[in-house]
């Protein structure tokens, strides 16, 4: 593709070819001679004391080189960090292997290292663990009560590991003067992200100087390096972490896991490479779950339908331990509950609670899908209760574009104060209504009813925090042939961020994009970085890289001035060349060659080489917004649900690559749809998981996608980003959960059913709701 303005155009991805040809290198594709294979023995009990572990049979099995239990490593490996948690709750941090007791089915109890993965698995089955069962608590309300059935961490004296509070205006006074209070308790069920590539690690100690190279399927290799150094007492310089091709993450790979630590520890201890590839059934118990919360929401409404105050009391079921990002779901959902609506008075208490389930952390949207669900169903309930049009009610309460920037008075842990930067929420709603054919919905409803179907249409208006996280790094280096290498601290895993960043750099230097290559995901190549999560890769990583390119361009002009015998002020940059007033020019390649170390240092420069770095710190989060509208039909006889139409208008500020953004939006909708219609992690009463494979935990297939799916976009550049960019990765999933649930609520409202959950709205659950009309929530 030729030089020219590329930002805003659908440049095909550079990432594709290797992936299409089967030439990519995921962790499981890397083979190193003499590798040992690690098998993890996982707890079969939800809550139990480990009375003893007999490793003799496992240790004597064919090919086994070592068996390790929690007692063996309790001194060598510190608990895994939780970076958003402070205070007494830190006692709930996870250990690489259970010490003394187990708190959920799937918790690592021992590790077996053998010459072959089958030998390791065979030996793992021979480990004898004696358990003494303890009472189990799975329900977060029971766990948080004053008299819980059991305590997971006795020294904490409670199962509540953290409480975050928000207070804006005077919610109590507004309640005292309330015209009407609309109150509901919303339940959001447990899901798991399920990237198609499970997790995997390979730790190699056979490189130089006793350093360990860890290949890990991770979203944040630099943080993994820091965490490993911390828990193992190693110098960061003795570690190199590489995220090779990574097959999706969606949040579960921006967690730090026991297997990463165990592989590095074993590689150091045993002197051989150590490999572990997560089996899919392990993924269901060993990779962080997501979403599960209960929110008690009270809204004060005046006689005009203006919501003057809200109060939130929420619980997050964090499972058995504090994950790396443990408080973030509770924090985001409480800070962002009010979404695009003014609601001047607000108070919230959000408690994070431990139970005997797999630890829970972030998954695409983090706490946003839950917040949007509660807010939008509350809006629907108010509209019905007061007989106000749903759209009109939303409009009356929305912030106006003129209100921006808008300090919301809340804060998100790690990310900081919530100050909406830009956005036209009412405009977005209006465009979505047009796109969805809102005006003609009654005709389609009548048609559906003639066919015996229940018809529902749902709306979700959302604002989401994006582009958060402290900073990102970017480096740009031009070689003597004029080729440009970009180094980014972002660590993409399917998004196409390398292509997007190449577009930014090609535009900044006004060169052919094919001269740009982007490197990421290797802590030796990119010494400092943060990673890809929180919809930040393009917006922050892209900004850092482009700022570095800008510095390169400025430096190039200084070098060119000398070459052209002009003053820097008389030289301009155009089409990848420096141009003097007399028409003479020098190319980027020539300038880069001139600046190399085997020439005298160019006049006016303090350093050689056309290479610069930028460290972009975020002045504030960028807030993307969207409106999703979902139309569906339910067969009242079978409970079968079909999404007949879906429309979304989204705004993520300045768009680098609309093809990639649309891919993110549609893919996100598919995930939200799966979580609302089928997916649910279930347990029996004793804490045994009932969803252990993709045959019980149903991901959406091509057949489940909406019959029609229309997307459109708006552009409200972020004033907090030098290039106006906001994040685009999570809004699709965030909006879909609420839009679909709102549509189900609309379909079932004539039967007297009040929907206060995000499903999953499976046929049996819908049939139950239809038959028991008036009862709340899904079965």
């Amino acid at each position: 593709m030729a030089a020219g303005r590329l930002v805003g155009t659908p440049v095909p991805r550079f990432e594709d070819k290797r992936l299409l040809l089967g030439q990519a290198r995921f962790v499981a594709d890397i083979n190193i001679p003499r590798t040992l294979h690690m098998a993890i023995v996982r707890s079969t009990r939800a809550h139990a004391v480990i009375e003893g572990i007999d490793t003799s049979r496992a240790g004597a099995a064919s090919g086994v080189r070592r068996v390790v239990t929690g007692a063996d490593i309790v001194e060598a490996i510190a608990p895994l960090p939780s970076i958003d948690l402070a205070g007494g709750g830190l006692v709930a941090c996870y250990r690489a292997l259970a010490a003394g007791k187990v708190r959920h089915v799937g918790e690592p109890v021992a590790a077996v290292f053998a010459d072959d993965p089958f030998q390791a698995a065979d030996a793992a089955a021979l480990l004898d663990v004696a358990y003494r069962d303890l009472p189990v608590v799975l329900d977060m309300e029971a766990a948080a009560s004053a008299t819980p059935p059991t305590l997971l961490y006795e020294s904490l004296g409670s199962n509540v590991i953290h409480t975050c509070e928000q207070s804006v205006g005077d919610a109590a006074a507004a309640f005292a003067a309330a015209h009407r209070v609309v109150e509901d308790t919303y339940r959001i069920h447990r899901c798991v992200a399920s990237p198609m590539e499970t997790r995997g690690v390979l730790a190699d100690p056979t490189g130089q100087d006793g350093r360990i190279v860890l290949y890990s399927s991770t979203q944040f290799p630099h943080l993994v390096r820091s965490f490993l150094a911390g828990v193992l007492g190693m110098a960061e310089s003795d570690l190199r972490v590489i995220a090779p091709d990574v097959g999706g993450g969606f949040g579960v790979k921006c967690e730090f896991y026991p297997e990463e630590v165990l592989a590095v520890w074993a590689a150091r201890t045993l002197g051989r490479p150590v490999r572990w590839i997560e089996a899919r059934d392990d993924h269901f118990v060993a990779t962080t779950h997501a979403r599960e919360q209960v929110h008690r929401v009270r809204a004060v409404v005046d006689s005009d339908g203006i919501v003057t105050a809200m109060m939130l009391d929420s619980l997050t079921n964090n499972g058995a331990a504090a994950a790396t990002l443990s408080v973030t779901p509770a924090s985001i959902s409480s800070a962002m509950l009010r979404g695009p609506y003014r609601i001047p008075n607000y108070s919230a208490r959000s408690r994070s609670v431990v139970t005997n389930k797999t630890p829970l952390a972030v998954y695409r949207g983090a706490g946003h899908p839950q917040a949007v669900l509660c807010m939008e169903l509350t809006m629907d309930h108010i509209a019905r209760a007061m007989n106000i049009d749903r759209v009109d009610l939303r409009r009356r309460n929305m912030l106006a574009a003129a209100d921006m920037p808008s300090d919301r008075g809340t804060a998100i842990v790690l990310a900081g104060k919530v100050v909406y930067d830009s956005g036209d929420y009412a405009g977005c709603l209006a465009r979505a209504l047009d796109l969805a054919g809102w005006k003609s919905r009654d005709e389609r409803a009548a048609d559906a009813r003639r066919r015996g179907k229940l018809f529902g249409i749902g709306i979700a208006c959302l604002v989401e925090e994006t582009a958060s996280g402290p900073y990102e790094t970017g480096g740009v280096r031009v070689d003597g042939t004029g080729r440009v290498t970009v180094f980014t601290g972002a660590s993409p895993h399917g998004q196409g961020t390398a292509t997007a960043i190449a577009q930014l750099i090609a535009d900044e230097l006004e060169i052919d994009i094919n001269r740009v290559s982007v490197r990421h995901g290797d802590t030796d190549v990119i010494p400092d970085g943060v990673g890809t999560f929180a919809s930040r890769g393009g917006a922050i990583g892209g900004a850092a890289a482009r700022l570095a390119a800008r510095k390169v361009r400025e430096k190039a002009l200084v070098v060119a001035a000398e070459m052209l015998q002009a003053t820097p002020a008389d030289v301009v940059w155009a089409e990848g060349k420096a141009l003097a007033a007399n028409g003479a020019s020098v190319t980027l390649a020539a300038i880069a060659g001139r600046a190399t170390a085997w020439n005298a240092r160019p006049k006016g420069l303090t350093s050689f080489n056309l290479a610069e770095e930028a460290h972009y710190q975020v002045p504030g989060m960028a807030f993307a917004n969207a409106t999703h509208i979902c139309e569906l039909e339910i067969d009242p006889g079978t409970g079968e649900l079909a999404i007949t139409g879906y429309a979304v208008v989204h705004d993520c500020g300045t768009v680098i690559n609309p093809m990639i953004v649309e891919g993110q939006v549609v893919g996100g909708i598919a995930q939200g749809l799966g979580g609302t219609l089928f997916e649910e992690i279930r347990y029996d009463k004793s804490g045994q998981p009932l969803t252990g494979r993709l045959a019980d935990y149903l991901l959406p297939t091509a057949a489940d996608m909406p019959a029609t799916l229309r997307t459109n976009s708006m552009v409200s550049p972020s004033p907090f980003n030098p290039f106006g960019m906001k994040g685009a990765g999570e809004g699709g999933a965030t909006g879909a959960v609420a839009a679909i649930s709102s549509a189900v609520a609309d379909a079932l409202a004539p039967l007297g059913v009040r929907v206060t959950s995000d499903g999953p709205f499976t046929p049996p659950a819908l049939l139950h709701m239809i038959k028991s009309g008036g009862r709340t929530a899904a079965a």
Binding site: R13, L20, G22, M196, G494, R693
Partner: protein, 162 residues
């Protein structure tokens, strides 16, 4: 429980046009044979239980889940993997369509889907939408939402000059 001694078997397979004779244990999976013994790591294992379709290969003209196939079952068979489809200089039409329609993101599931689509177009150069849908329903993708895949495959089925 004792681990039974394994009796190994010699098998002969033709993979991507090259014949190989291999010594395999009875429980060795075809997916592992392809990936670990032959180094053909383009075939991915996403679930190991036949649900996701990432490991799909063509055996004697039919698409098969290589994670559910024992290596010994493939004795004498002709196997095609993603490595035999297209080349860097000349992508297969299915690969080209996936690229232009942005029908892949992380790309982990992609080789299996490409293999199934290649097999579909061999049997029917102009498959109906329902046939395309049926093939895609045998695969899980967590990134794309499938829409662009459907468009990519339709674009081939509806192309004027194939």
């Amino acid at each position: 429980m004792t681990i039974p001694a394994e009796k190994s078997h010699f098998i002969s397979v033709t993979v991507n046009g090259e014949r190989a004779i291999l010594h395999v244990s009875p429980r060795r999976l075809l997916a592992d044979l392809l990936r670990d013994d032959l180094g053909l790591t383009g075939t991915h294992v996403g679930c190991g239980t036949g649900e996701c379709g990432s490991c799909t290969v063509i055996i004697d003209g039919e698409t098969v889940r290589s994670c559910l196939t024992l290596a010994v079952q493939a004795d004498g068979a002709t196997i095609e993997t993603i490595e035999s489809v297209g080349s860097s200089g000349r992508l297969h039409p299915v690969q080209r369509a996936f690229h232009t329609h942005h029908a892949l993101q992380c790309g982990f599931c992609t080789p299996g889907i490409i293999i199934s689509a290649v097999a579909l177009f061999r049997k029917n150069t102009r498959p109906a939408d329902a046939e395309i849908a049926e093939v895609l329903q045998g695969h899980l993708c967590r990134c794309t939402g499938y829409r662009n895949m459907i468009d990519a495959l339709r674009s081939i089925a509806h192309a004027e000059d194939r």
